[in-house]
Amino acid sequence: MIATALGALGRPVLQAVAAAGRVALFAAQVLGHILRPPFYLRELGSSLLQIGWYSLPVVGLTAIFTGGALALQIYAGGSRFNAESVVPSIVAIGMTRELGPVLGGLMVAARVASSIAAEIGTMKVTEQIDALVTLSTNPLKYLAVPRVLAATLAMPVLVATGDAIGIMGGWLVGITRLDFNSAAYLKNTVDFLEAWDIGSGLVKGAVFGFIVAVMGCYHGMNSARGAQGVGAATKAAVVSASVLILAANYVLTEVFFTT
């Protein structure tokens, strides 16, 4: 009875540990291949376009609405103790440290991890990955390395863009709905924002980009056969990337701001 209960408890734990180990090994293999030739520059360029450029609209829209809502919330909260003037600085700090990288990362996870997993998963079930091997091409190097590298490089740029758009969203709401003076709002934003507020967000962005692409590639390459297999791989890629982004965000915040 007790052994059965312990077994039922231990089995999923062991499975989870084994899965974490497989993902870690996969990520280590990708990292090991990044600096070793051959380099697939065309695939890297194409991935930068797909992951970076085409994610700009969704990241920008997320940022502008979040910045606006944040301004309204901080104003409402600040008014309870006559601190309405903190709106510009809190919007800027909140966007650059937390909301820019986290929401940007989650939106990119939804858009990119799913797309990578579905594409590579379909390649697997249609034997395109086997075909790569027979053509003397390492699938990990050809498919995963350019995507992981592109996501890691593109995410900080997306986060920086999202930060700027989010702050502008707060400014727009501030001057149109909350009666802030435009120049004073911008001065407040610049005066209270420190370089590390922005830098920490960019580092988080790079880590989240790495997570998104690794999870997309890992689940795609381990997709089961058939449409259901590809669907399951896509879902697993988005869920695992999102959860890992949130977990990594907490760890990075601890490291950056509490030590």
Binding site: P38, M123, E127, D130, A131, V133, T134, L135, S136, T137
Partner: protein
């Protein structure tokens, strides 16, 4: 020569290959026949190193394939996949020239494109198809592009996995004839897996029947009809009654 000795492979409780022994002489065309799910594709993937056998040895010209330099080993092979396995994101000519523009002996892009167009012409496709994407082609055309890719680097050994599956009888005949012509013309060693008897008669020099995880019968294609083996007879005549269970 490709030689397989006691090759075994299992997936969980399913023992797919239970001791395969087979020899394919250089410059000959061997066709492996057998029902669906008998392990033909697994056998082919074992030779290519896509699946690692649990037991047994596979040698190519006396060298163990699992210990050979992978790139040098694979450079000797060409492969036509069942579904074509063309890369969706690349144009037709880029698919055909995939191996030519990569690796230590990479050719300049223009030269690789010329060769790709020449190979496309060889399989009966017009140069205009070179700049199309695979999704714009019919099933038969995709098979031809796959064939052009398999022969692009002029390999010594070519594998064909169910080359006529999903094609109408006329297109299947065209593909069979092309395979036979190309294999003869190149002097390549060919291994084909199929359950299409018209392919067997058009392509094979020798035939081996895989059943129950072992090679049940092997011999020249000219002796296929005359063999008294009941498994072979049931298979080649497509009979429901016989030693092979119709529901597997």
């Amino acid at each position: 020569m490709i030689a397989l000795a006691d090759v075994q492979k299992r997936f969980g409780e399913n023992r797919v290959l239970q001791g395969v022994n087979l020899q394919i002489a250089s410059g000959t065309s061997m066709v492996i026949i057998g029902g669906s799910g008998t392990g033909k594709s697994v056998l082919l993937k074992c030779i290519l190193g896509l699946v690692r056998p649990d037991q047994g040895t596979i040698t190519l010209d006396g060298q163990d394939v699992t210990k050979a330099d992978r790139d040098a080993f694979l450079a000797r092979f060409g492969m036509l996949f069942q579904g074509g396995a063309l890369f969706d994101s690349l144009k037709v000519w880029e698919n055909v020239a995939f191996r030519l523009v990569r690796g230590p002996k990479a050719l300049p892009k223009d030269r690789a494109r010329e060769i790709a167009i020449e190979k496309l012409r060889r399989v009966g496709l017009k140069p205009e198809t070179a700049d199309l994407f695979p999704a714009e082609l019919s099933g038969g055309m995709q098979k031809r592009v796959g064939l052009a890719r398999a022969i692009a680097a002029e390999p010594e050994i070519i594998f064909f996995d169910e080359p006529t599956t999903g094609l109408d009888p006329i297109m299947a005949g065209v593909i069979n004839a092309l395979i036979r012509e190309i294999v003869t013309e190149m002097g390549a060693t060919a291994m084909t897996i199929t359950h299409d008897m018209s392919s067997v008669r058009a392509i094979a020099d020798n035939v081996a029947m895989l059943h129950g995880g072992v090679i049940r019968w092997t011999g020249p294609v000219t002796e296929l009809d005359a063999t008294p083996d009941p498994y072979v007879q049931q298979f080649i005549h497509g009979r429901a009654d016989g030693p092979i269970e119709s529901v597997r």
